[in-house]
C-alpha cells in the first residue's frame, strides 16, 4: 500500500459526501413525482445525516453520534414499514402513485 491509501480520509470529504447525499435527497424529494422515489429520497436524506453523525463521532471520539445513527436507522426501518404500507394502500385506493394527483386534502 502506498502513502496515498495509508493516509486518513480528511473530515471535510466525509462532510461533503454527506451534504451531497442530503442535497440529492432534497432535490429528489422535490422533483420526483413517483411516491416510491420520493420515499427513497427521504431515505437518502436520512443516510446523508447518518454519515455526518458517524463522521463527527469518529472525529471527536464520542459514541453518542453512533448511538444516534442506530436510532435513526431504527426509525427509518419503522418508517419504511409504515410508509410502504401506506403506499400500497394509496395505490389500491387511487390506482396511481403520482404525488401531484394525491391532493384530495386541498381546500
Amino acid at each position: 500500500m502506498n502513502a496515498f491509501f495509508s493516509q486518513e480520509v480528511p473530515l471535510s470529504w466525509y462532510l461533503l459526501l454527506s451534504a451531497i447525499l442530503f442535497s440529492l435527497g432534497v432535490v429528489g424529494f422535490l422533483i420526483k413525482r413517483n411516491l416510491i422515489t420520493v420515499f427513497m429520497s427521504i431515505e437518502l436524506m436520512l443516510n446523508g445525516v447518518n454519515l455526518s453523525f458517524v463522521t463527527f463521532a469518529h472525529q471527536w471520539h464520542a459514541v453518542k453520534g453512533q448511538i444516534f445513527v442506530f436510532f435513526v436507522m431504527m426509525v427509518a426501518a419503522a418508517e419504511a414499514a409504515v410508509g410502504l404500507a401506506i403506499i400500497i394502500a394509496v395505490f389500491r385506493a387511487r390506482a396511481t402513485l403520482a404525488v401531484d394527483r394525491i391532493d384530495r386534502m386541498k381546500l
Binding site: 432534497v26 401531484d100 391532493d103 386541498k106
Partner: protein
C-alpha cells in the same frame, strides 16, 4: 339556653326541598313531590318552634337572646372589613320566622289543592321552597350582607313565581317589571351598605348599634343618607311610593303566591329591614319623617285606588300596598313594635283574604272580575265565612286582629310630637277607605244575587279549606297577644332608645299607655270602620245604583282612580320611553352596531383578508410543501451560519467609507 338551636336548618330544609323538587320533580310521582314540598316548611317550622319554646313566655325576661349562630368558616375578610355568615335569633327574627314558616306552611298546604291540576306542579313547589329558603335567610341575617343575599333571593323567587305562567305575555312582563323596579330599591340598599362599611367599618347590626350608641355625635348627616338609602330599598321591596307599581301587576302569579309572597311575607321584608336597622333611623329624625310621610301617603294613595278596582286580586293588592304604608307609618313614628305587630296580623288576615279569593276564583272557573260574581255566600259557605273574618279583621272591627295592630299604629302616630296629628288623620281616613273597599268586595262577591248564573261554583277541597280555617282563627285571635305584652316582648330588640334632645326620638313607652286616650282613639277607629261598612252597605246593597251615579257625577275623579292615577302611564312616558329611546339610539345603534359591531367586522375582515393571501400556500401539492420546508430550513441555516453582526458592521464600514470620501 346552651343547647344548639340549629338555626341553619331553618333555611336549608326548604333549600333541600327546592333541590329535590327542582331537579327530580318532573320524574317523581306526585305524592312524593307533595310530601317533600310540605315536609320542608313543616320541618323548618318545627325547628323554629323548638327554638322558640325556651322563651315563648311573651313578656317574660329573656336573658339568653340574642342567640347568634355563625358559620365557622370565615366568609369575607378583606383588610379591615370582616363579615361573617351569621344568623341571629332574637325576639324580632323569632316573630318573623314564626310568621314566615307558619303561614308559609299553611299556604303550601293550600297550594296542594289549588295547583293540583297544574302541569308545573313540581316546578311551582320548588320555587315556593326556594322562596322560603331566601326569606328565612333574610330574616335570620345577622348583618346587612347576609340580609342582602336573602333580599335578592326573595326577589328572584318572586320573579320566578310571578312569571310562573310564562307562556302568558302579561305574566312574563309582570315578572320583569317586579324585578326591574326592585333593582332600583336594591341599588339604595347597596349604597347604604357601602356607606355603612365606609363610616362604621362593619355590616353587623349589633356592632352598628353599639358604635352609634358610643358616640352621640352620630346624628343626621351621613346617618340620614344611610337611612334614606335603606328606606329606598325598603320602598322597592315593600311596594311603597314611588316604587309600588310592580305589586298590582304581580297578581299575575298563582293566587297562593300572591298570598305568601305579595301579601304575607316578602313585601313585608322592607318593614322588617327598617325595624332591624332602626337604630340608624332613631338617629335621624329627618329619615324617620320621610318614612312616616311615605308610609302615610302610600296608605291613602293605594286605598283610594282600591276603591274602584274590579279585579278581586287587584283590590287586595292595592289593599296590601295600603297596609304596608300603615306599617311604614308605624316605623316612621318610631313605633317599631306596632309596625311589626301589624306586619304579623296583616300576614294572617291578608293571606286569609288572598287564599279565600283564590278559593273563589278556583270555584267559579278562573273568573276574577267582581262584577261577574255575587251571591256566592250560599254556594261557598266556608269561603264566605272566612272572608267575612278577614274583612272584619282588615277593617279593624274588634276583637279581630287588625283592630289591635291598626289601633296601636294610630295611637303611636297620634302621640308623636310635631306632625303626628296629620299622620293620624291620614291613617284614620285610610281606615275608612279600607273598611269601605273591603266591604265593597265582600258585598260584590258574596252578597246579592249571582251575576253569572251559568257558572256552578263548588266549594274547594279540604287541603284548601283547612289553611283557610286556621288562618281565620289566627285572624280572630292573633291580635290578642298585644294585650299580653307583645310590645314589651319585642322591646329588647326594638326597645326604648335613650330619649335624646329631639322629641322625634322619643319611643312610645308601651308600658305607660294612657288608657283613657287609647280608649277614645279606639272608639273613634271602630266608629270610622263601621262608617266605612255603612257606606259600602248603602252603595252595594241598599242603593246599588249609587256607585254608577257617583262615577257619572265625578267623571274625571272616577277616571283618575280607575286608571290608578295614570302612574304607570306617567312612568312609561318619563322613564321607560326615554330609556328605551336611549337604548335604541345610543346603546343599540352607536355602541352595539357601531362600535362593537364595527370592531368585530374590522377584526373579522382583517382575518379574512390575511387568510385570502395565506391560503395560497395551502396548495395541497405535497412537493410545494416540501419546497417551503426546505426553503425554511435553508433560511434558518443562513440565519444561524452567517455572522450577521460582522456583515452588518462591514457593510456599515463600507458605507461610512463611501460617505467619508
Amino acid at each position: 339556653m346552651n343547647a344548639p338551636l340549629h338555626l341553619w336548618l331553618i333555611p336549608l330544609l326548604p333549600f333541600a326541598g327546592f333541590l329535590i323538587n327542582g331537579i327530580l320533580g318532573r320524574r317523581l310521582p306526585k305524592w312524593i313531590v307533595t310530601t317533600v314540598a310540605l315536609l320542608a316548611p313543616l320541618a323548618a317550622f318545627g325547628v323554629v318552634l323548638n327554638a322558640a319554646q325556651g322563651f315563648f313566655g311573651i313578656g317574660a325576661a329573656v336573658s339568653s337572646l340574642p342567640y347568634i349562630e355563625t358559620c365557622p368558616l370565615p366568609w369575607i375578610n378583606i383588610a379591615a372589613l370582616h363579615v361573617d355568615f351569621s344568623f341571629v335569633l332574637d325576639q324580632l327574627s323569632l316573630v318573623m320566622l314564626l310568621v314566615v314558616t307558619g303561614v308559609g306552611f299553611l299556604i303550601h298546604v293550600y297550594s296542594v289543592g289549588y295547583m293540583n291540576d297544574d302541569e308545573g306542579y313540581a316546578r311551582y313547589f320548588s320555587y315556593l321552597n326556594l322562596f322560603l329558603f331566601f326569606m328565612t335567610v333574610l330574616v335570620l341575617a345577622g348583618n346587612a350582607l347576609v340580609m342582602f343575599i336573602g333580599w335578592e333571593g326573595v326577589g328572584l323567587a318572586s320573579y320566578l313565581l310571578i312569571g310562573f305562567y310564562f307562556q302568558k305575555k302579561s305574566a312574563a312582563d309582570a315578572g320583569k317589571k317586579a324585578f326591574i323596579v326592585n333593582r332600583i330599591g336594591d341599588f339604595g340598599f347597596l349604597i347604604a351598605m357601602f356607606l355603612l362599611v365606609a363610616n362604621f367599618g362593619t355590616l353587623t347590626f349589633t356592632e352598628i348599634a353599639t358604635k352609634l350608641g358610643q358616640d352621640p355625635g352620630w346624628n343626621g348627616g351621613v346617618v340620614t343618607v344611610i337611612a334614606l338609602c335603606l328606606m329606598m330599598g325598603a320602598a322597592g321591596k315593600s311596594a311603597q311610593l314611588p316604587l309600588y307599581i310592580w305589586l298590582p301587576d304581580a297578581m299575575e302569579g298563582p293566587t297562593p303566591v300572591s298570598a305568601l309572597i305579595h301579601a304575607a311575607t316578602m313585601v313585608t321584608a322592607g318593614v322588617y329591614m327598617v325595624a332591624r336597622t332602626h337604630v340608624l333611623f332613631d338617629h335621624s329624625p329627618f329619615a324617620l319623617g320621610v318614612v312616616a310621610t311615605v308610609g302615610a301617603a302610600t296608605a291613602i294613595f293605594a286605598a283610594t285606588i282600591a276603591l274602584v278596582q274590579n279585579d278581586i286580586k287587584r283590590v287586595l293588592a292595592y289593599s296590601t300596598i295600603s297596609q304596608l304604608g300603615y306599617m311604614f307609618l308605624g316605623c316612621g313614628v318610631a313605633a317599631y313594635s306596632a309596625a311589626i305587630f301589624h306586619l304579623m296580623t296583616h300576614a294572617f288576615f291578608k293571606a286569609l283574604l288572598f287564599l279565600a279569593a283564590g278559593s273563589v276564583i278556583h270555584a267559579i272557573g278562573g273568573e276574577q272580575d267582581l262584577r261577574k260574581m255575587g251571591g256566592l255566600w250560599r254556594k261557598l259557605p266556608i269561603t264566605f265565612a272566612v272572608t267575612t273574618v278577614g274583612v272584619l279583621a282588615i277593617a279593624g272591627i274588634p276583637p279581630f286582629a287588625g283592630f289591635f295592630s291598626k289601633d296601636a299604629i294610630l295611637y303611636a302616630a297620634f302621640n308623636q310630637g310635631t306632625n303626628g296629628k296629620i299622620l293620624y288623620s291620614v291613617g284614620l281616613i285610610t281606615a275608612l277607605l279600607t273598611a269601605f273597599y273591603m266591604f265593597r268586595l265582600w258585598y260584590l262577591a258574596f252578597m246579592g244575587t249571582s251575576r253569572s248564573p251559568e257558572v256552578h261554583p263548588h266549594e274547594s277541597p279540604w287541603s284548601m279549606r283547612g289553611p283557610l280555617l286556621i288562618l281565620a282563627a289566627l285572624s280572630i285571635c292573633g291580635g290578642w297577644i298585644w294585650l299580653y305584652g307583645f310590645g314589651e316582648f319585642l322591646a329588647p330588640v326594638l326597645g326604648a332608645r335613650v330619649a335624646e334632645t329631639n322629641s322625634w326620638r322619643l319611643l312610645i313607652p308601651y308600658t305607660q299607655y294612657s288608657l283613657s286616650l287609647e280608649t277614645v282613639l279606639s272608639i273613634v277607629a271602630v266608629l270610622v270602620a263601621l262608617e266605612g261598612w255603612l257606606i259600602a252597605d248603602k252603595f252595594y246593597r241598599r242603593k246599588p245604583a249609587r256607585p254608577a251615579s257617583l262615577a257619572a257625577a265625578l267623571p274625571s275623579g272616577y277616571k283618575l282612580l280607575a286608571n290608578k292615577y295614570f302612574v304607570d302611564e306617567f312612568y312609561g312616558a318619563t322613564v321607560v320611553k326615554p330609556l328605551l329611546g336611549f337604548s335604541k339610539v345610543f346603546l343599540e345603534w352607536v355602541v352595539d352596531v357601531g362600535i362593537l359591531g364595527g370592531a368585530a367586522w374590522l377584526l373579522g375582515g382583517m382575518a379574512t383578508f390575511a387568510g385570502a393571501i395565506l391560503q395560497r400556500w395551502q396548495s395541497g401539492n405535497l412537493r410545494s410543501y416540501a419546497a417551503w420546508l426546505a426553503a425554511g430550513a435553508a433560511a434558518v441555516l443562513l440565519f444561524l451560519l452567517v455572522p450577521w453582526t460582522t456583515v452588518l458592521a462591514y457593510l456599515a464600514a463600507i458605507h461610512l467609507g463611501v460617505a467619508g470620501h
